[in-house]
Symmetry: C2
Subunit: 281 residues, 2 copies
DNA sequence: GGGTATTTGTCCGTATGTATT
DNA sequence: AAATACATACGGACAAATACC
């Protein structure tokens, strides 16, 4: 009761959305209508919808109205894989577009679509750079040592899915892995390429996962609302060879609103998605 | 140039923050001062600071002013572990509070604190429930079958760190794992307990990671700003026994602003943090 | 403890611009 | 071209939180 008016209005609308009275895609009453319904000024109504916007419940479309957000069917990326091949980058990466599920409570009636998808990647943009402090530390090389940077935009079914940059010490190129500095996809995967060309085997890798607000480039590429309400999940993958020496660092960024990640440890049954989706009626 | 005024003001302030002219913790000019500086109305100034707030750059304190956000030293949780013991819940979970690092670019001068921390957990709140559809699917039991829910609040150094709920089929209790329905921590971990009491060995587990906006309970518990700009990262861990049968489901929620997650696959050297933090000068 | 100044939070009103139908 | 609906910007008023004397 002590809540400010715009919060009470927002809470009431949220209740309607969560109760399904305003289903996904439905248009909310216009600001003018809400103004009359709640007997508040237009600015107060707008404060309420802003509150709903930052929570990802509604979106506004100029000239049209305010609408309940449609739930996005997420891409599912598995972070664990065979270290001998898993590059998390170029090469074969299989993505499920399906529904391992949201949280426990909500009980959406949504289509189950479990289909394996291979992302398409842009031609890599190659840069020769000096190692930053972080990079030098991760790759155990001197700061300002020369590294190769391979940057790619990745899509699934045409929708922007991930931005990715991999770094390799220039010494690998000097030792013969010359394709690293060619602006061409390494289709078999850089991990396999380095194994075949330099006998560097990836014995393991470490991912560090962080959530943060998107920067301007990411907002543009992913087509995120520019009010920053959708955060991005970034992974930093450091690959180690058989001697425990880091030889690559891959930074990937995914928009948090359309991605899920899976980590499997030990023996895990194959088809979780179908299992969790099959509701016995 | 076509940018609205509030964006120009926000961009100018953002530039000052990123350039270090306004270091973390510093107070921004008051709304009145900014009003004069940019020759705009107070509401326009407030729109600009709102833009900065949703991007996590500043925070406002009523009666005091607007301040540049202080960077939080994140908790680091490792998601991969020995499936035979890793519960991701009660029992021994080691957390590093340290700095695997943010993104590549920023070059903070911040203290390196790598110390192993054991989280403290509240006494579990036990509930006997009927399985939801998701739960039934994950645990391969009938919908509306009876399950035990163990809910805990977890803290590190007194700061709220995670909310966690584990579900077990009631059949486990009937078969003798009676401590599951006691409101007492299972210190050795429920995974070990089930192995010792019922000879159920956890052969593997799967984590599904999702990012979403916090609900009200989470906002309150984690002390998050109630404008929903900080999202939460939620993990759903399904544990499988030696027969590929799921026997537990653990939902955990972590505030995204003070947590990082690590996934290790294959052979990974032990001490990455120190390595990445040690800058040769 | 009380009072006052400062600063942000809420709410109102109005006007004009811009995007969509 | 006109109507509709949201976006931006201005102005003012009072409330609530905080700090300081």
């Amino acid at each position: 009761m002590a809540d400010p008016m715009y919060r009470q209005i927002a809470d009431d609308l949220r209740r309607q959305i969560e109760a399904g009275e305003l289903p996904p895609g439905a248009q909310l009453p216009t600001e003018l209508e809400l103004r009359e319904k709640y007997d508040a000024s237009r600015n107060t109504i707008r404060d309420a919808t802003k509150w709903l916007i930052t929570r990802g419940l509604v979106e506004t479309r100029p000239g049209q109205g305010t609408f309940v957000i449609e739930r996005i069917i997420p891409f599912v990326t598995t972070l664990t894989g065979d270290p001998k091949t898993a590059s998390g980058g170029e090469g074969h990466t299989y993505i499920e577009r399906g529904v391992p599920g949201g949280e426990a409570e909500p009980d959406y009636d949504r289509e189950v679509m479990v289909s394996r998808r291979t992302p398409q990647a842009s031609q890599p943009k190659i840069e020769i750079q000096q190692a930053s402090a972080l990079l030098a530390g991760e790759l155990s090389i001197e700061e300002n040592a020369i590294v190769v940077s391979r940057h790619q935009e990745r899509f699934i079914d045409g929708t922007p899915w991930s931005l990715q940059t991999s770094f390799y010490p220039m010494s690998l190129v000097e030792r013969g892995a010359t394709r690293l500095i060619q602006a061409q996809n390494i289709l078999e995967g850089t991990v396999e390429y380095l194994r075949d060309s330099l006998d560097i085997k990836q014995a393991g890798y470490r991912d560090v996962i962080t959530v943060r607000a998107p920067d301007e480039t990411e907002t543009r590429f992913f087509n995120l609302p520019d009010d920053g309400r959708v955060s991005v999940l970034s992974t930093r993958r450091t690959g180690y060879d058989q001697n425990g020496q880091a030889f690559r660092l891959t930074l990937s960024v995914y928009p948090a609103d359309r991605n899920q990640f899976v980590v499997k440890v030990g023996e895990v049954p194959a088809d979780p998605t179908a299992a969790s989706a099959n509701r016995q009626s």
